[in-house]
Amino acid sequence: MPKLTINGTEVEVKEGATVIEAFKQMNEDIAHYCWHPGLSIAGVCRLCMIDVEGARGPQIACNTVAKEGMVVTNQSEQIKDIVKWGMDFHLINHPLDCPICDQAGECGLQEQYMKFGQYDPEMDQPKVKKRKVVDLGEKVVLDSERCILCSRCVRFTDEVSKTKELGIFNRGDRSEVGTFADKPLNNKYSLNTVDICPVGALTSKDFRFRQRVWYLKNDNTVCNGCSTGCNVKVYYNEEGLFRVTPEHNEEVNGYWMCDEGRDIYKFANKNQRLLKAKKYDGSNWQELTAGKAMQELHHSLFDDVKTNCSKVGVVFTGQYTNEEYADAMQTFKSLGVASFFEWNDTADKAGDFDDLLIRGDKNPNTKGLQDEAANHSGLKKLEDAINAVNSGQIDTIFVMAPENISVYPNYQSTYEALSKAKNFIWFGANKTDGFEKSNSQNTYLIPMKSYIEKTGTFSGAKAIQKFNYVTTIVAGALTLSEAMTLFQGKEIEFELRSKPMTSLKNNHFTLNRGKL
C-alpha cells in the first residue's frame, strides 16, 4: 500500500492505484474529462496535469501510477496555468449555447470552468461547424459541436456494453463521434453514454427539454426493474419523477444501469397510478380513501376471514419489500390463512442473465417473497389460485398486485380471472383503467405506494439492500404493512407528506389530517 503526498497531505492508496484515484480518494479537486473510474484510461483531455517531484515535466494523473514516497501537486502556478489553457482549448470550438443546452446545471464544462478556468476567452476566430441533432439511436441524440471528444461514450460501448456502435470519425478538429453505417446506438445500456458524457453532446430523448436540472431534487434508491437491484438516483419535483440515473455500487451495479430500469419511474408517476381506493358492489363503482376502504374491510371481512380461513387465498408478487411480506404473511397467518400464491409472469425466464446487469426475473424481490413464505407454508402457483377461485374452493382473495405492470403481460387477464371470487381485494400501485368490469360483487381496489414512496429492503440477486423514502406522489396510498394494520382495525398516523420516513417501524406518514 504505497503512501504518497498530494498537495501537502499524505495519503495511502491501494497497490496499483493511479494518482487521479488518490486525488479522488482524498476528495481533492482535479480537473478532468476523459477519465472515468469505470472505463479504461484514454489520457486525451490532458487536464489532470500534476507536478511530480523529480519528473521531467508535468504528467497526467490518470496515467501515473502512485508510488511510495511520491510528492505530487496540482496547486503550482505552472499547473494552474496549464489547466486554464486546457479549459480554453476545450471551449474554443464549443458553441457555449448553455441557455438552450439540456446539460446546463450539471455540465462538466460549466463546473470545471468555474473551478479551474475563469479566464477571459481570447478566441475570436470562427468556430468549427459540426453536425447538430444527430439521431444516434432510439434513445440518444448527439450534438457534435458540444462534444469535447473525451471518448467516454466510445469506450463505454467498447468495454462495458461491448456493442461497439460508436467511434470517433475523421481527425483533428474535424473529429466527430458517430455510429457505424447501419448500426445505430440501440443497445440495452445506451443511456449510460448520456450519463457519462461530461457535456451536453449526448442527451436522452426521454429527458431532454423536460426539466431544468436545478428545478429537480434527487435522492438515492434501489431500482425495482429486476432482481439485480441497481443503485439509482431519482430526480423529482412536486410534479413527480423525471429521470433515473445509476449510482455507483461496486458490489451490485458498478457505475451503470440498463435503459429499461430508467423507464420504471414512469410507473410511479401520478398518471400511471391508482389515486384513490375504489369499491364495486356488482353495479356501481365508488371512490373512497384508502384508509376508509381498509376500515370498511376490517368491519365487513376481518372476522369472516378468521372463521372461513380455509376459503381465503392471498396472491403475492415479488414487487414489495421484505418488511411488507413479513407483515402481510404474519397478519394472514394469525387469521389462520395458509394459502399463499406467487404471481410472476416472468418466472420462466428467472434464471436469465446478460452477464452485465439485466436479469430475467423482472421483480426486485422474488427472493424476499420466497424466503418469507418459506417461514410459513410456502407459495403455490398462480394457476392453483385461479382454479381454486373457479371451483369455489376459495371465495375470498387478496391480491398484492405488481407495481411495474410492463413486466406483467397477464395483468388484465389475471385480474379478470381472480375477480370471480366472492370477495376480491386488490392492492396495487398501478392504475386500473381496464378494470371497469369486476366479476366480484364485493370488489375493493386499494392504492399502494410505489418504491419511491416507502422505506424497506429488497433481497436482490446480489445483496439485500435497504432503500429510503424519496418523495410522495400519491398522497393517500398505503404500504402493505399499513394496509394490514388498518385491516386489523388498528390506527396509523399520517404526517406531513414532505417529511421523509425514518424507518418502516416508525411508519408515520403523510399530512396532518389527524388520525383516521
Binding site: A42, V44, C45, P58, F89, N93, E122, G172, D173
Partner: protein, 429 residues
C-alpha cells in the same frame, strides 16, 4: 565532402537486384552477424553510438536494451513512413538499395531475437513499395528469409505493410495502431512499445536508415563506424537538402560537418543573386535557424541542441531572401492542422487555432495581440500531449515568430508581405 558509406553504390542500377547487391559484398555482413552472439551485436550498436535516424535521435542500442527478458515473442518494425515534410532519404534508400535495408533488418532482428518484422511504408511511396516487395521475394527465394537463414538456425519472416499516408503514422505507437488495423492514433505511454507494442508484445520500431546502418557497424566494427562523426554523434547520415539551393538532393556526410559546407558546397549554394535567409534544419517541425545561425552550426545532435533546434530526420530546408516567413508559416500550420489526429485536446484545438490565426494575418484580419496569442497557444501545446505532433506544430510557430517577428508585425500593420510587397489575397486569388 560527401562520405558515402550507406550510399556508396546508390548510383548503380544493379545494386537494386539481389544479384548485383551480392556482387558488391551484399549479405556478407549478415553471414558474419549470424555467427556472432546477439548480445554482442547489441553491445556493438550501443558502443558505435548509433542514434535513431528518424528524428528523435534516441540511441538505437539502448532502445533494444529495453526489451524485457520474458520469453514473449518480439516484433521488429521498420518505420518507412517518412512523413516529415522535407525528408526523402528513406525513399532513396528503399528505391536504390532495398537489400541493404533487408540485410540491416535481419541483422537487427537476429540481435533482438525477433522472428517477425514489418516494413511500414507510407501509401504514397509506390516505387518503394514495389522495390521492397520485389526485394523480399528475391530474398525469400534465396533463403535469406524464412527458416534457417544461411544455415544458422535463425528463422525470420518479413513483410511490407502499406500505410495510408497519414503523417501521424510515423509516430511509433500510431504506426503500431495502424499496423494492428486500428485508426492511426498514438497510444498512451507508458507502456512503451519495447514492453507492450504491436499486438501487446514487446516491439522495437526503428527508422529505415538506422536499421541499414546496423549492417555497417557489423562490417566496419565499432571503431570503423566511429571513424566518422563526433563523439556523441557517431557515423555518417543522409541529409535531404531541399528548397532554394542549386543542387537539392540527398547527401551523405559525416555528422559534425558544418551546415555551411553542406549547403554552400555540397548542395551547390544559393541560386544566383539570392541570399540565404533561414534554414529549417531537420524537417518542418524543427525550430528554424536564421542565416547567421545556419552558417555557424554543425550537422550533429549537440550543435543543433545548443541552438535550441534538432537534427531531426535530416531534412534541411533552405530558404532564401525571396520568401515571406508569414507565408511559409501559413503552409506549415495548414499542414499540422490537417494532420493532427484529434485525440488530445491541446493539439486538436491548438493546431486549428494556430492555423486560423496565421491565416488571419495573411488575410489582413489579425491584430497585433494575436502574435502573443500564437506564442501562448504554442507554449501550451508543447509537451502537453500523448505524442510530439503538438510540439511539432508549436515549435515552428514559436521560432518563426521569435526570429522573424518584424515580418509578422509588418504584415499585420500593412496588410501585405514585407518581402513580396503584396497581400496573400493578391497572390492567391
Amino acid at each position: 565532402m560527401e562520405t558515402k558509406i550507406l550510399s556508396e553504390h546508390y548510383d548503380k542500377p544493379s545494386f537494386k537486384t539481389l544479384k548485383g547487391y551480392k556482387e558488391l559484398s551484399g549479405y556478407e555482413d549478415l553471414a558474419k552477424a549470424l555467427k556472432m552472439d546477439p548480445k554482442k551485436i547489441i553491445e556493438d550498436v550501443k558502443a558505435a553510438g548509433l542514434r535513431g535516424r528518424g528524428g528523435a535521435g534516441f540511441p538505437t542500442g539502448v532502445k533494444w536494451g529495453f526489451l524485457p527478458d520474458n520469453g514473449e515473442p518480439r516484433y521488429l518494425l521498420c518505420n518507412a513512413d517518412e512523413g516529415e515534410p522535407g525528408t526523402f532519404k528513406d525513399r532513396l534508400m528503399m528505391e536504390a538499395a532495398p537489400h541493404q535495408l533487408i540485410e540491416g533488418m535481419i541483422i537487427s532482428a537476429f540481435a533482438i531475437g525477433s522472428k517477425k518484422s514489418y516494413i511500414y511504408i507510407r501509401g504514397e511511396y509506390n516505387s518503394c513499395i514495389r522495390s521492397m516487395t520485389k526485394a523480399l521475394e528475391e530474398a525469400y527465394a534465396d533463403g535469406l528469409l524464412g527458416k534457417n537463414i544461411m544455415g544458422s538456425g535463425f528463422d525470420h519472416d518479413m513483410d511490407v505493410y502499406v500505410g495510408a499516408g497519414a503523417y501521424i503514422c510515423g509516430e511509433e505507437t500510431a504506426m503500431i495502431s495502424s499496423l494492428e488495423g486500428l485508426k492511426g492514433q498514438p497510444k498512451l505511454k507508458p507502456p512503451f512499445p519495447a514492453i507492450e507494442g504491436y499486438l501487446k508484445k514487446p516491439t522495437i520500431v526503428n527508422n529505415v536508415e538506422s536499421l541499414a546502418a546496423v549492417k555497417y557497424i557489423i562490417r566496419d566494427g565499432v571503431e570503423g563506424y566511429r571513424k566518422y562523426g563526433t563523439e556523441k554523434s557517431a557515423g555518417t547520415k543522409l541529409f535531404s537538402v531541399s528548397g532554394n539551393v542549386t543542387k537539392p538532393g540527398n547527401y551523405e556526410i559525416p555528422l559534425g560537418m558544418s551546415m555551411k559546407e553542406l549547403i554552400m558546397d555540397i548542395a551547390g549554394g544559393m541560386k544566383p543573386g539570392r541570399k540565404l535567409k533561414a534554414v529549417i534544419p531537420g524537417g518542418s517541425s524543427t525550430p528554424i535557424l536564421t542565416a547567421e545561425e545556419a552558417l555557424k552550426v554543425n550537422m550533429d545532435y549537440e550543435s543543433m541542441a545548443e541552438l535550441g533546434t534538432f537534427l531531426g530526420s535530416g531534412a534541411v530546408i533552405v530558404i532564401d531572401d525571396s520568401n515571406c516567413m508569414v507565408d511559409l508559416l501559413g503552409v506549415l500550420m495548414h499542414f499540422y492542422h490537417h494532420e493532427s489526429c484529434g485525440q488530445c485536446t491541446p493539439c486538436r484545438e491548438g493546431t486549428g487555432w494556430l492555423n486560423k490565426l496565421v491565416h488571419s494575418i495573411l488575410k489582413g484580419e489579425a491584430k497585433m495581440k494575436d502574435l502573443e496569442l500564437i506564442n501562448g497557444i504554442s507554449n501550451h501545446m508543447m509537451g502537453k500531449t500523448i505524442c510530439a505532433l503538438s510540439d511539432a506544430a508549436a515549435m515552428p510557430a514559436l521560432s518563426f515568430l521569435k526570429k522573424f517577428r518584424d515580418e509578422f508585425e509588418y504584415y499585420i500593420k500593412e496588410g501585405r508581405s514585407k518581402v513580396k510587397g503584396v497581400s496573400y489575397a493578391e497572390v492567391n486569388h
